[in-house]
């Protein structure tokens, strides 16, 4: 079953295009929507969730459009990015109220199940206003899961979580995905997506830059040209050694050490340690200079253009 289907979807605000002609299909399992800030991830999530009309194109969740169709929420759960909840309620009251709004047959059981799933039982009787950001995030997930939806959308779910909460949330999403649910989450952090999802959609400047299996895209990312600053016990000898390697595109001796341009990120990173050891050179510093996500994405785009 195709859970979410976007066909030629665009969204613009005035003359600013936020999402540009996106066609994608998101099926069961965990899918990551990856992209730098401002790429249009939230706009897409809001459109799928029925809280924003596409300016152009068609967008279906299940059998019908989500825009102007409140029935879609019977099978769809949304965890919004904004941290606004009814903070005067306790976590348990919030989830229970959501269960009642969904008119569930067994409100108490559904509430308990959702709170246990998100590991919030201990804090359920406290007011949400006393929660940490990570706990608020989890109680929002509990509320979004209370009606056992087939489709769960999460906008930047890992923001503000500590590493332990992050891992717990990732495990939860992975479990929900293996149960056959369609889980779509957005993130601007590569490692989050890497750990969690087999399928990713990479969004840059409102366009779909890459789409598909994470490993394939990861390979694209790791084989991209890359510049490192390197300092060692013997920079000149290291430069000579590096020049002899196939993955080295250029080596420059600067005042502060070496600047190495590699054509294969993965090979360089995997071999630099053994290489220096074999030649008895002590590696003092290894710094990627353009590890920012933007550079990864712009590489992906230029790669696609070719």
């Amino acid at each position: 079953m195709t859970a979410i289907q976007l066909t030629g979807v665009s969204r613009w605000y005035g003359n600013v295009v936020a999402v540009n002609d996106i066609t994608m299909t998101i099926g069961p399992g965990v899918t990551g929507l990856l992209g730098p800030n401002g790429a249009g991830k939230s706009t897409i999530i809001h459109m799928i969730a029925g809280f924003l009309a596409p300016s152009k194109g068609t967008l279906n969740v299940g059998d019908g459009p989500s825009w102007g169709n409140p029935d879609v929420y019977k099978t769809l759960g949304l965890v919004p990015e904004r941290d606004s909840v009814y903070a005067f309620l306790t976590g348990e009251q919030f989830v229970r109220a959501t269960a009642k709004l969904h008119e569930l047959a067994d409100v108490a059981a559904a509430t308990k199940r959702a709170i246990e799933m998100t590991d919030m039982s201990d804090a359920a009787d406290r007011r949400i206003s006393t929660y940490s950001k990570g706990m608020r995030q989890r109680i929002k997930v509990a509320a979004a899961l209370v009606h056992d939806p087939e489709v769960l959308l999460l906008d930047e779910p890992f923001n503000g979580m500590d590493p332990r909460q992050r891992i717990h949330m990732m495990d939860l999403l992975a479990k929900l995905g293996t149960e056959g649910r369609t889980i779509l989450f957005s993130s601007h952090i590569l490692e989050e997506v890497e750990r969690l999802s087999g399928t990713i959609q990479v969004l840059v400047a409102g366009r779909l830059a890459a789409s598909g299996d994470f490993r394939a895209i990861r390979r694209l990312m790791t084989s991209r040209p890359h510049v490192f600053n390197v300092r060692s016990s013997d920079d000149r000898r290291l430069a000579a050694v590096l020049v002899g390697r196939p993955y080295t595109a250029a080596v420059e001796i600067t005042g502060k050490g070496l600047q190495v341009r590699t054509s294969d990120f993965g090979a360089f990173c995997g071999q630099i340690a053994t290489l220096t050891r074999d030649h008895d050179i002590a590696l003092r510093e290894l710094l990627p200079t353009d590890e920012s996500l933007e550079s990864v994405f712009s590489y992906l785009i230029s790669n696609q253009a070719n």
Binding site: F51, P70, Y86, L101
Partner: protein, 242 residues
């Protein structure tokens, strides 16, 4: 009707509205009205005409619309502003239920914080027993109509309080007393029309008859609720054009 009123939404709305600091804000006009009545009762000779002005002018031109404005724009507008409305709207609950429930809560709270103080002040004022009940009836009707309009305003615009203030001060406060035709779209005059039908008072300028007031009041209320429902059905998250 039962499906249009959702008790869960109502309970959360009451807690949110009374729990906010604003709760003190909408009690202030009521306190002023009752205090003013007590002061005048103690200082003026019996038989004076002041109850009409205090209860009619202050009660109907200031207390009722301002209380209704603060409450009516808050019950749904505050949630839309801070984004928590999304948790309510991401459920299959009918949008008409959301609007009607918010409206009922706003109307009841306005009755408690505006119509009821109007009655209390009326009973405290000398020689005004019947006037008090007439004004109370008018204020109850006004609570209903104002609430519908202000709830709708909070869905239609993010500047509902400013729009509401302009309406109350300029349209109702100024124009409707200068230009007769404007009264046809003045909720204050609907309320006064109803009050005057129960107890005619020369000093209260009701420009409309009872039937006109009731018919227009119903049309405005129902129209506002339908408009609000239609707009809420197309509720969009404010996106940053990024």
């Amino acid at each position: 009707m039962s499906s249009l009123f959702n008790p869960i939404v109502a309970a959360i709305t009451v807690r949110a509205t009374l729990g906010r600091r604003r709760a003190f804000l909408f009690a202030i006009p009521a306190v002023i009205l009752i205090a003013l009545t007590l002061i005048l009762r103690a200082s003026r000779p019996p038989g004076a005409q002041w109850p009409d002005h205090v209860l009619g002018d202050f009660g109907f031109s200031v207390l009722l619309p301002l209380t209704a404005l603060i409450i009516g724009t808050g019950v749904l507008g505050a949630e839309i502003d801070d984004g928590s409305a999304i948790h309510l709207l991401a459920t299959p609950i009918r949008r008409s239920s959301v609007v009607v429930t918010k409206f009922v809560v706003a109307a009841v709270l306005t009755m408690v914080f505006a119509a009821l103080p109007e009655l209390i002040a009326g009973l405290l004022a000398p020689n005004s027993g019947k006037l008090a009940f007439a004004l109370f009836a008018g204020a109850l009707a006004g609570s209903v109509i104002y609430s519908a309009v202000f709830v709708a305003a909070s869905v239609l615009t993010t500047r509902a309080i400013a729009v509401g203030l302009l309406y109350v001060l300029i349209w109702e406060g100024l124009l409707s007393n200068l230009v007769g035709g404007v009264r046809i779209l003045s909720i204050a005059h609907y309320s006064l029309g109803i009050a005057n039908a129960i107890y005619p008072d020369q000093n209260l300028m009701a420009g409309l008859t009872l039937s006109t007031s009731v018919v227009l009041g119903v049309i405005v209320t129902v129209g506002a609720l339908i408009l609000a429902t239609r707009r809420l059905s197309a509720f969009a998250i404010k996106g940053d054009p990024a």
